[in-house]
Symmetry: C2
Subunit: 442 residues, 2 copies
Amino acid sequence: MPNALSATEAARKIREGKLTSVDLVKACLKRIEETDGQLHAWAYLNPELALAQAAELDQIRLNGRPLGSLHGVPVGLKDIIDTKEMPTEYGTAIYQGRQPDADAGIVERLREAGAVIMGKTATTEFAFVHPVATRNPHNVDHTPGGSSSGSAAAVAAFHVPLAIGTQTNGSVIRPASFCGTYGFKPTRGVIPRRGLLQTSNSLDQVGVFARTLEDAALLTDAIGFYDPSDAKSYARARPKAVEGCATEAPVDPNFVYLDMPYHDLMASDTIAGFDEIMELLGCQVERIDASPNLVDLIAVQHVIHEYEIIHHLDTVFTEHWDALSTSLQPVLERARKISEAQYQDALAVMQSAETFFQEFFHDYDAVLAPSAAGEAPKFSDGGTGNPIFSTIWTLAGLPCLTIPLMVSGNGLPVGVQLIGSAQEDDRLFRTANWMLKKLENA
Amino acid sequence: MPNALSATEAARKIREGKLTSVDLVKACLKRIEETDGQLHAWAYLNPELALAQAAELDQIRLNGRPLGSLHGVPVGLKDIIDTKEMPTEYGTAIYQGRQPDADAGIVERLREAGAVIMGKTATTEFAFVHPVATRNPHNVDHTPGGSSSGSAAAVAAFHVPLAIGTQTNGSVIRPASFCGTYGFKPTRGVIPRRGLLQTSNSLDQVGVFARTLEDAALLTDAIGFYDPSDAKSYARARPKAVEGCATEAPVDPNFVYLDMPYHDLMASDTIAGFDEIMELLGCQVERIDASPNLVDLIAVQHVIHEYEIIHHLDTVFTEHWDALSTSLQPVLERARKISEAQYQDALAVMQSAETFFQEFFHDYDAVLAPSAAGEAPKFSDGGTGNPIFSTIWTLAGLPCLTIPLMVSGNGLPVGVQLIGSAQEDDRLFRTANWMLKKLENA
């Protein structure tokens, strides 16, 4: 079925006239219809609108017009990304029926690339702690992770080959790990956030979900650009991820594994799987103890995230307090107590972490790290899993990639994470590609 | 000297470490210093600012960061394109010292591509009829054409390898023809106009100046994108001009030459040169009489252009009437008398012209046409030359390319124009490349 194709393959077939966008979108819609009653990956889906886009794109091809890199390929969008033809509700009843009057900047780029805007994927409330109804496609008794729950589930369930999410702490890497997809969060500033719910101007970062490494690169290249209306967006060329993916590493890359105190949280099967991968990579991996300074960064992330979400949204929270979940309320109450001085200190530490990692990657191509503590927790546990395996890297704004390499004792996927040097996302893709080949031939 | 390099060559040398952006910009600045006292191509130039950008770009390369397609290459901008670090004065004392607080959309793309924003090039008053002080680099007794006078002169004089202009009637093609550069105005809607002076929302179109065909394609690709804040910008993939330029034509292209009544204006040496080119292309060119309907389009352009400039700017004109040139005043007085009904009729005719040309290009790859009546008129004549050889094509929104192929009896350059099918700008570059090779080998 065409819905099982990678985005790269589907786009090629469409370009060559061997597949229509309408047939691809129909196959995706059929798959969604069959499975989303259980999975709840979608917050908004309008099959007629998706098919109308596909039909128009097929006609553009027949007319011999230029085709973009995603021509005819459906993409799911986390429901905190504004779309002018679909509501955007932020995972909360407070914004039920909210209809933006403009597309987010990244949606403009998707349209230019010829993507079909398939629909909006389920997100946790305000992209934060409270779970949404979405289930893990590998076992519906488990969570898909959060906050980009629907984007991860939709890609894993073959609803769409590509989806977009966001990560303020671990909201791309963790759900991708739990759902067995690739997940990639580029360097801070590569993908601009105009038209997205702002929960933390310092930390919010856009990321992508895909079923192949090349697809993750393809989507990243399509939506990365300079947009001065985003204060973190920078006015320079973006790393070329697809090119990085297709480039041979000039020498075997060096990896580093940092022993972190929070690795105590890892499940025994995940530790065993991870050790096996370390062994296969052999002398390419250096194992070192993390400095205490590094571990302190975790608290810093919380201060910035919580202080800023209050700063950005407290008017809404106050006005609609009773409509907030009982998971979010205590977090916000704690957040309101963070002082300006604590926050400024935290920002200064974040800055120094960025500087530290500039030097750090002179010696290594990538940090090799767990993507999560292990398999997805049970849905009935009431959470979306612990984001701590992403916290430091998100804070430092580094490119993070999770690769679905392991399987838990219960048959659930578990990812392996690679973290690269800032603004060298292309090099990270090159390194990942080398690693995949190395493990394949091991 | 590096200022004589094409942009494509300069960018490659910079990428390969064989040239620094600082050395390139220094060479350009030296050339400007030597010649601009006579030419007056620049409305604003700040050597320190240009060199600071170049130094930063050189550092980015040394740091191993990703490089854009124009990394380190200086570009001149017509002074109706907003720049946040330089004034933008629209060629009139009314806006002397006007400092925009944001870059135009195309300037954002130039920065992302790594270009050095060299400075602002001289434009006629409000990009309309009244000449500016700029002279033709081939002979300072002649006009460089208008309204993108400085952009054409700066590229022709080896001040910069690339510059951007705009065309509402013939303001890219004509100055490029007079100054002996390539000039390219893409399909309406390819390059968005956010942050540019609006003189006619229906007709204003951005174009580029370069000394090679490939360079014109390179700059076009860097600044073409979908921007919904421009009503004429469309949400689809842009034609890939560089790729078109590098593609072999699958079969020999067909050209058509339309005999237009205004061809009576052509100088005898230009007619002779043009006939020679027609002969060299031989059976690839079909010669047909233009239908009277086509010729009527010229009046339609004037109605739309003049009605809209009043609609957009009459408050300014009224407030500063005495500061307007005596060339502009009578045009505006005439323009104010155009009725809404006349304007609506003209828009309907423009629409039908667009439809007509969709069919027309099923039979032809390009229209072959003069770019101007002949060599640049004398500066002392007080005008910038007749734009009529561009009028119909600009109105229809078709991609137009002028190629510096002829020389007048006085040794001045004269261009040959190719006009292509809408949104097939890549095909037009392919056709142009074929024609250049054909004439080279003839």
